[in-house]
């Protein structure tokens, strides 16, 4: 609740409730969709920031808006969703013209990449969204080209791969071997960390994906290279008033994902903490 340790930058623009319209929905495979909205006022945001997303058609159920990383900002903000429950199911069924509200931009973005450092991104599933935007930001700012390690269960769980390839060096791992290396993405990370070690490079890891993946990535980085994660927790409000999004700290107490995160230094987080329902 107080000014806590975060790795995130302080880039900030005014948060607002944007009434937008769904312009386009593109299905990717069976479970993923990119939703692109039309916003009267541009949303000014940096990679890693998110929006609380809700369709005006929901009425009183589903009740709460859903936190979604921004895949792009501006006048046509977009998100990448994976269908996991009622809210995402409805988003995946919505048609152009549907009125939505986006409360954005929210949260802390990824921190700046330190000079002369090789950025290594580790993405799992929809976790690719804030990392693709970061890679695009780097590309347009003439920054270093990141190495992206991208994992999924199958070749169908690697949404936006082509866009990612346009702005980064991508290596792939799938659990069933249907694309890239067979196995988990952490296998790729192990090799990548060895490489940078061999070349005596500075590196920094940015990761977003399933909790277990991020915990494994954080463990592998610990003591070797800095690692920043974008955490996912249930959220009530997205702007710091419900206190529903705590992330346990190693030092005790909590950080709040919506205001102090979602992008956080991995070493600050108590990864051993059991999640309810998990």
């Amino acid at each position: 609740m107080s000014g806590a340790v975060t790795a995130a930058s302080d880039c900030r623009s005014v948060r607002a409730l944007h009434r937008v319209t769904l312009k386009d929905r593109k299905a990717i495979g069976s479970a993923y969709h990119v939703l692109t909205f039309e916003s009267a006022e541009p949303i000014v945001a940096s990679a890693g920031q998110f929006a609380m997303v809700r369709s005006e058609t929901w009425g009183s159920a589903p009740l709460l808006p859903r936190p979604m990383s921004l895949l792009s900002a501006g006048k046509d903000p977009s998100i990448l969703i994976k269908v996991v429950g009622e809210g995402t199911r409805r988003m995946a069924a919505s048609a152009p013209g549907e009125p939505y509200q986006l409360l954005a931009p929210l949260g802390k973005s990824w921190s700046k990449i330190p000079a002369a450092t090789r950025p290594v991104f580790v993405a799992g599933g929809v976790g690719v969204a804030p990392l693709l935007l970061l890679a695009e930001e780097l590309a347009s700012a003439g920054g270093p080209k990141p190495l992206v390690l991208y994992g999924g269960r199958t070749a169908h769980d690697l949404p936006l791969l082509d866009q990612l390839r346009a702005v980064s060096d991508v290596r792939i791992a799938t659990e069933d071997g249907s694309a890239g290396t067979k196995g988990r993405v952490t296998v790729l990370l192990s090799a990548a960390l060895d490489e940078v070690g061999v070349h005596n490079q500075l590196a920094k890891v940015y990761t977003c994906g399933p909790h277990a993946m991020m915990a494994a990535v954080a463990a592998m980085c610990e003591g070797r290279v800095p690692c920043e994660v974008s955490v996912e927790t249930p959220m009530g409000c997205g702007y710091g008033v419900c206190l529903g999004c705590p992330v346990p700290k190693v030092s005790g107490g909590f950080l709040y994902a919506c205001t102090e995160g979602p992008c956080l230094d991995a070493t600050v987080i108590d990864w051993g903490h059991r999640k309810a329902g998990a």
Partner: protein
């Protein structure tokens, strides 16, 4: 708006009856990007305790049909930090501040009230004797007329501020609790706090929130809250402030017709940070259209 929206909660005049509910509006400073919160009738702070509290382990919230469960565990900055870090800013913004306080013993409730009594810019204290989400204290006071009366009387003696007592929907004898608080000197009753509920993940067979049970809030509970406010307001002479599932101006009007002198907007602020302002604007329009004052709605539910 030329329409008269002012209401009197005992000796405290509010410029309008739309407040925000404790725990759903932070310390109100979080709204600077969204709107000027001083337009509201008032704001209730997150529940304040003597020492800062970190709160419960995650997960703390889960959604249910037209509602949500929460077990935040009264995470808060502590009364001292509130007085030094938050209150001066609220005062500067001209916000009517109701300090919601929480303790597990009567002396601690008294200490909190005394501390707040020393500050300028606190309009009332609201005793949370009805929090379902902490191991110790809270709700035990709220479900028992004798205990509720005891803590109210003690706080009443300790402060010049108006004392509001927040009712638990789990009291078997809600009217009895209300009357006991009235007799102990409460200036108003606020009702209702959340109703304890449970949600289990059928994939993992585990509770959806760490604390197992959590308090249910949101539109789902509105009819229950409305009934309780109606019953309470007929049983006591002091004002009742209505809370529970209010999301629109119509909801607020319904609550006032049932007997509420003012209302608090809670969970709706999560759905839309501007919810309380929209409720206020809608209430103004409703009163203007009918050429009535807001106070003309209080308890005017036609029961014949």
């Amino acid at each position: 708006m030329s329409v008269d929206l002012a209401v009197d909660v005992g000796s405290l005049r509010l410029k309008n009856p739309v407040l925000t509910a404790s725990g759903t509006f932070g310390y109100a400073l979080e709204y600077d990007d969204f709107f000027d919160v001083s337009v509201l009738g008032g704001i209730c702070t997150k529940g304040l305790s003597i020492l800062p509290r970190a709160g419960n382990n995650p997960d703390r919230i889960a959604e249910t049909s037209a509602g949500m469960l929460n077990a935040i565990g009264l995470a808060n900055v502590g009364v001292e930090a509130f007085c030094t870090e938050k209150l001066p800013n609220l005062r500067a913004r001209g916000v009517t501040v109701i300090a919601n306080i929480f303790a597990t013993t009567v002396p601690d409730f008294v200490a909190l009230a005394e501390r707040l009594d020393r500050e300028e810019g606190v309009a009332a204290v609201e005793l949370n004797v009805s929090c379902p989400n902490v191991d110790k204290g809270g709700i035990e006071f709220g479900v028992d007329p004798v205990a509720a009366g005891r803590v109210t009387a003690a706080v009443r003696k300790a402060t010049k501020l108006p004392v509001w007592v927040k009712m638990s929907p789990e009291a078997g004898d809600l009217k009895g609790v209300g009357i006991a608080c009235q007799e102990a000197g409460a200036d108003a009753l606020t009702a209702i706090n959340t109703i304890r509920g449970l949600s289990i993940d059928v994939r993992t067979w585990r509770p959806r929130i760490f604390n197992k049970t959590g308090g249910l809030s949101g539109p789902a509970i509105k009819p229950i809250a409305l009934r309780m406010v109606w019953e309470l307001s007929r049983a006591v002479k002091i004002p009742v402030i209505g809370i529970g599932g209010i999301a629109t101006a119509e909801d607020a009007i319904e609550m006032m017709l049932a007997g509420a002198t003012a209302v608090q907007v809670g969970t709706a602020s999560f759905v839309d940070p501007l919810a309380s302002k929209k409720v206020l604007d809608g209430l103004g329009a409703y009163c203007a259209e009918r050429n009535i004052a807001a106070r003309d709605l209080i308890g005017r539910f036609i029961q014949t």
